[in-house]
């Protein structure tokens, strides 16, 4: 049979111009960045042409100016420091208590039976609803915020860790038993490693809850912190300052989520379909 020449006479592997091939390689983040820039310029323009009132919407340049001002006069550092402190202590406690307790509850079904009703009830309660109680008990200082951050983060961490330890594949247990594993070895070599992915997902979920805890806690009863800053600036219609506060918290959240994702990827090199 004769080969049929393609109509155009060229080979299928066309050499793309460098600009286009560069675009193809970076398309995903380029599209995201461009969309963001279009949005920001539209925002800026609509304020510049007085289509909307900056008192309500602020504008990218006004937020930037307010931010620079607040860092220059030093008024923001105290708020950042206090919020970071509350977050670090609350989330740290959630980690130190949630992970070991989750492992124990996942492994010992009796302990799980005793504590499970409490965990379920508290996990189902929006922890923010406990804020008035916590303020009565702990006052408006940092400890009440640490408590609310802790309560926000500890349950997702706890519940995911329990599930991770409990849902070990039966086949793996059979392998371990067949090779003569004792209980402790079964736990260390099978239950623990196979629960790591769920545990890390729990940490990520807990992070979101912890951030909500800080902001709402400080809005509701505090005299310092980023949540307090947002609330008071809002009350005075200082929209630019409100936006600065929001952006700071968002950036912190994104940064920490990315950090956890990075840790997840490191621990999950062995996962199939893993894209690094």
């Amino acid at each position: 049979m004769n080969a049929i020449p393609s109509p155009s006479g060229t080979s299928l592997e066309v050499q793309l111009p460098p600009v286009i091939s560069w675009w193809k390689r970076n398309e995903n983040w380029l599209l995201g960045t461009i969309a963001m820039l279009v949005f920001l310029s539209f925002w800026e323009t609509s304020v510049a042409f007085k289509w909307v009132n900056p008192l309500f919407t602020s504008a990218p340049t006004r937020i930037l100016r307010a931010g620079i001002e607040m860092f220059a006069d030093g008024s923001i550092y105290g708020h950042i420091a206090i919020s970071s402190y509350e977050f670090a202590v609350g989330y740290g406690l959630a980690l130190v208590i949630g992970v070991p307790l989750g492992i124990l509850m996942g492994w010992y079904s009796r302990l799980n039976a005793v504590l499970e009703p409490f965990v379920s009830a508290l996990y189902a309660t929006p922890r923010i609803a406990l804020l008035p109680l916590i303020l009565i008990w702990l006052g408006i200082g940092v400890s009440s915020k640490i408590a609310i951050v802790f309560l926000g983060a500890v349950f997702p961490i706890l519940v995911n860790t329990i599930t991770g330890v409990r849902t070990v594949e039966a086949d793996f247990i059979k392998v371990a038993r067949s090779f003569g594993a004792r209980d402790r070895q079964l736990f260390l070599t099978v239950a623990l490693p196979s629960s790591v992915p769920l545990l890390l997902a729990g940490l990520r979920l807990g992070l979101g809850h912890a951030l909500v805890g800080i902001v709402v806690g400080e809005m509701y009863g505090a005299n310092e912190g980023l949540g307090y800053l947002i609330a008071t600036a809002g009350a005075r219609f200082q929209t630019d300052k409100v936006m600065v506060g929001i952006i700071l918290i968002t950036s912190a959240g994104v940064a920490m989520t990315e950090l956890l994702r990075w840790i997840e990827r490191r621990y999950e090199r062995w996962r199939p379909n893993f894209r690094g």
Binding site: D171, F172, K174, V175, A176, R177, S178, F179, G180, A181, Q185, T189, V190, P193, S194, V196, R269, W270, R271, P272
Partner: protein
């Protein structure tokens, strides 16, 4: 291995019924031998193998390995699982040395050395640091076999290790297994539902009846000890294969069982 009048009855908690799985099974496996168990599906082959490994308790009878009665899993036996069941978070080497790690008797470098030797024996040199998901099905089964062989067991128990492989890989692995076992000088008890697999591998084939499983017949496979796949077309081979087929057909009365075999 010596199984004497082994019986096993299982209680199903959900249906509240007793199910007799094994009845009076007598089976010997002599040193250096490979014995295969075939039988209709669901007859209790795997249960018997689990019992030999010590993973399930007998209702009556006893199983001896090298003259001593077994009581739970032990280092004299090692199990090759049907689904390879490799730990996905461990590399090939660390999967292979898993059993040695649990025993904790060998220093780390010696463990590693033995692991490397076995990995070479099963033909996986260069893959020690790979993770299971990076391997093909046939390679994973080699790791599964290596993980058992590294324990230097007196008796290797294989539960349909090639069932999940494609037909070509499966045939190839049958010959490979014989080579590996000859090199490792290991006695083995092998379960399969494929009759020609049983015949090509074994010195003897034990045919189990439908549940409750009894030994229907033990067939000696009088074929040259070095086996090649071409043997499958020879008259002697086909004769044995047909004979076993007839035995199983008598047991597998239900059409769905026939289809599966």
């Amino acid at each position: 291995m010596d199984a004497r009048r082994v019986s096993l009855t299982r209680y199903n908690e959900r249906t509240k019924q007793y199910l007799e799985v094994l009845r009076d099974i007598d089976l010997q496996v002599f040193e250096g031998e490979l014995v295969t168990i075939v039988g209709p599906s669901g007859c209790g082959k795997t249960t018997f193998l689990n019992a030999v490994d010590g993973l399930v308790k007998l209702t009556a009878g006893r199983i001896l390995v090298d003259g001593s009665q077994i009581n739970g899993p032990g280092p004299d036996r090692a199990f090759v699982f049907q689904n390879d069941c490799l730990f996905p978070w461990r590399t090939v080497l660390r999967n292979v040395t898993y059993g040695l790690e649990l025993q904790g008797r060998l220093p780390a470098h010696e463990m590693k050395q033995r692991g490397q030797n076995i990995i070479e024996l099963v033909g996986l040199q260069g893959f020690a640091e790979h993770y299971p998901h990076e391997l093909s099905g046939g390679m994973r089964q080699r790791v599964n076999i290596a993980r058992a062989l590294v324990m230097e067991p007196k008796l290797l128990l294989l539960d349909e290790p090639f069932a999940a492989l494609d037909a070509q890989t499966r045939e190839f692995m049958q010959v490979e297994l014989l080579k590996i076992l000859a090199r490792a000088k290991t006695t083995a008890l092998f379960i399969t539902h494929q009759i020609n697999e049983a015949v090509i591998l074994s010195n003897r084939v034990a045919v189990f009846s439908a549940r409750p499983a009894r030994i229907k017949e033990i067939i000696k496979v009088d074929l040259p000890s070095t086996r090649a796949l071409s043997l499958k077309h020879e008259a002697g081979f086909v004769e044995i294969e047909k004979h076993i087929w007839r035995l199983i057909e008598e047991e597998a009365v239900r059409p769905d069982m026939l289809a599966e075999a």
